[in-house]
């Protein structure tokens, strides 16, 4: 897994260039070394010496008698560079897609001041997050094959020739660990199995994504010439390479086919390995957090329930009868979970913008803090931004498919809005606080 590096600036009489050292790869690091081509020249003499030292100064070579087991020369059958490059290219694209869709999901949930997310198309988030999870799942066999194909490089001898070589190998270790971390934690998350993860999934998955992408960029910088050379050169037919590629490809295809039905409705019948089915759950719709799990069974069933709306016009309290007496609207909107599943349903209830108007604010400029009856938890509250507040599809829903909401779907009242992650579709809504921008 650690790419056989080179000794680009090594002088011929340097010990690392001796007969014992393995053959150097193409001098692809040289370019990366010099990039600001004249930079070392412009630096002071001392800095230039440090630079050269980092690149050229040989690190001590471990005694030859330690070169045993997988470290022996020819301990492994050779692997095809073309296979490694093809898999690398596919994984690079897959990880890029996962990173961008994941980052998008993150900023939707934690919007920075510059971020703006439209309310339409209503199903955009279900697509981006469906792609995120499906791509991650399909990456599992690709990463497996890729790491198999580069495994011999883990046992490069000597383990580190120069400090730069050591740093490059360190970045590859980071990339491998990060890639495995992301796919393993993602898989555990969609299987809702949190015990093996000694951290909060969302933040861990988020920060390791940055770590992995950084290491990936370095890896691409180092390997670009090798990949180009491997993919443009006419390679002789190689049955082994074709078998591994075919196996990984068929596996990725089958994994996709047996899971993607959790969000692509026409394929739901094939989704035999999907953690969710869009039709299974109370009122024919999956549930992420139950009333029991949220600790709201008692408060949500309390007949004294009333929705409190706080706005410029002062607080209003609406009990269920009052909410039902307001103009009711019906929309078809998906619940799109961060875990990659989604399901559309028909929701009926009161438009959020009507409630905001009642509270004395302009929906087009109003942020609404939606609070659940839950006592705590990461997703007890969510903020609805002006584009969604004003959208006629955004409801405080009281009914699902014509029936009163199931307790697990947020009875007595829940938020349902277009183009929004499921965790922000706050259930068991107890209070709305309306704040107007200038």
């Amino acid at each position: 897994m650690v790419r056989d590096p080179d000794r680009p600036l090594t002088s011929p009489d340097s010990p690392v260039a001796g007969p014992d050292s393995p053959v150097a790869g193409p001098d692809h690091l040289e370019a990366a070394a010099d990039p600001p081509e004249t930079a070392p020249a412009r630096l002071s003499e001392r800095a230039a010496r440090l630079w050269t030292w980092l690149w050229e100064h040989p690190l001590p070579v471990p005694p030859e008698r330690l070169r045993i087991g997988p470290f022996r020369p020819a301990a492994f059958a050779p692997r095809s560079t073309r296979l490694t490059s093809t898999l690398g290219l596919l994984l690079g694209v897959a990880f890029g897609i996962c990173f961008l869709t994941g980052l998008l999901s993150h900023v939707i949930q934690h919007p920075p001041p510059w971020f703006w997310w439209p309310s339409r198309p209503a199903g955009l988030y279900r697509v981006t997050q469906g792609v995120h999870v499906a791509t991650g799942l399909a990456s599992i066999p690709l990463l497996g094959a890729k790491l198999w194909s580069v495994y011999p490089r883990l046992f490069t001898w000597p383990p580190a020739r120069t400090l730069v070589h050591a740093a490059e190998r360190g970045s590859v270790a980071l990339l491998v660990a990060g890639g495995l971390f992301q796919l393993a934690s993602g898989l555990l998350n969609i299987a809702r199995w949190y015990t093996p993860m000694p951290f909060f999934f969302t933040t861990g998955h988020y920060w390791v994504a940055w770590l992995t992408i950084g290491a990936l960029l370095i890896h691409i910088a180092v390997q670009l010439p090798v990949v180009r050379e491997a993919l443009t050169r006419r390679a002789p037919p190689d049955a082994g390479r074709r078998q591994v590629l075919l196996g990984a490809g068929v596996a990725a295809g089958l994994i996709t086919l047996t899971t993607v039905g959790e969000t692509v409705r026409p394929l739901s019948g094939l989704a035999v390995l999907a953690p969710r089915r869009p039709t299974i759950g109370p009122q024919g719709l999956p549930v992420n957090k139950t009333a029991l799990g949220a600790g709201v069974r008692a408060s949500a069933s309390d007949p004294a329930y009333g929705l409190v709306v706080i706005g410029p016009a002062g607080p209003i309290r609406l009990d269920l009868a009052a909410l039902n007496a307001l103009p009711q609207h019906t929309v078809v909107l998906p619940i799109a979970c961060v875990e990659g599943w989604s399901a559309s349903a028909t929701w009926s209830g009161v438009r959020l913008r009507d409630l905001v108007t009642m509270a004395g604010a302009d929906p087009g400029r109003a942020f609404v803090l939606v609070e659940s009856l839950e006592a705590g938890g990461h997703y007890r509250t969510s903020t609805v931004e002006p584009p969604l507040t004003a959208d006629p599809f955004t409801l405080i829903a009281l009914r699902l498919r014509g029936d009163v909401l199931h307790l697990d779907h947020g009875y007595p009242a829940r938020l349902i809005a277009p183009n929004r992650p499921g965790v922000l579709q706050t259930k068991w809504v107890g209070r709305l606080t309306v704040r107007e921008t200038r």
């Binding site: 990366a32 660990a177 393993a184 691409i220 089915r277 029991l292």
Partner: protein, 166 residues
Amino acid sequence: MNRLRAALLVTGVVVIGYALAGSFLQLGGKLGGVLIFLVAVLVLHDGIWLPLVLAAGAVLGRFGPARHRGVLRVAAIVAVALTVVALPLVLGLGRTADNPSALPLNYGRNLALLLLGLAVTTALIMARALIRASPALIRTSPALIRAVIRRRGRKDSERPDDGSDG
């Protein structure tokens, strides 16, 4: 291209720096957990999982019938990948009593059926290869086909290892 590579390299270093700084600031006490998991997946994969895969490949290469080694290798890769993805669902340890809509299927049975389907497909491909390699005459006679399969199976096991690895 060197300019591009330099840009990638610098961006990569900056992004890693951002990730490290962000992790320290945001993960707080959970940083240790993330580090443990990072190291654990690396050690489990490179130290235990891959050696097992290599050993299985070597067994397949040594004892698998030479004519079908390629098909078997592809099938093995697919079977292993499906099993890895299905395993957390088959174990079902993320299930909770209050939420029957999470992990609602019998994943053990589903995985078994998928693997069975894979085995049948693999067997059909192998049989087709045998029939194709045989004279046209025997295609019409099931008894002959059976005889040929028996004979070829014997022949394959006698054939020396062609040196391809698994």
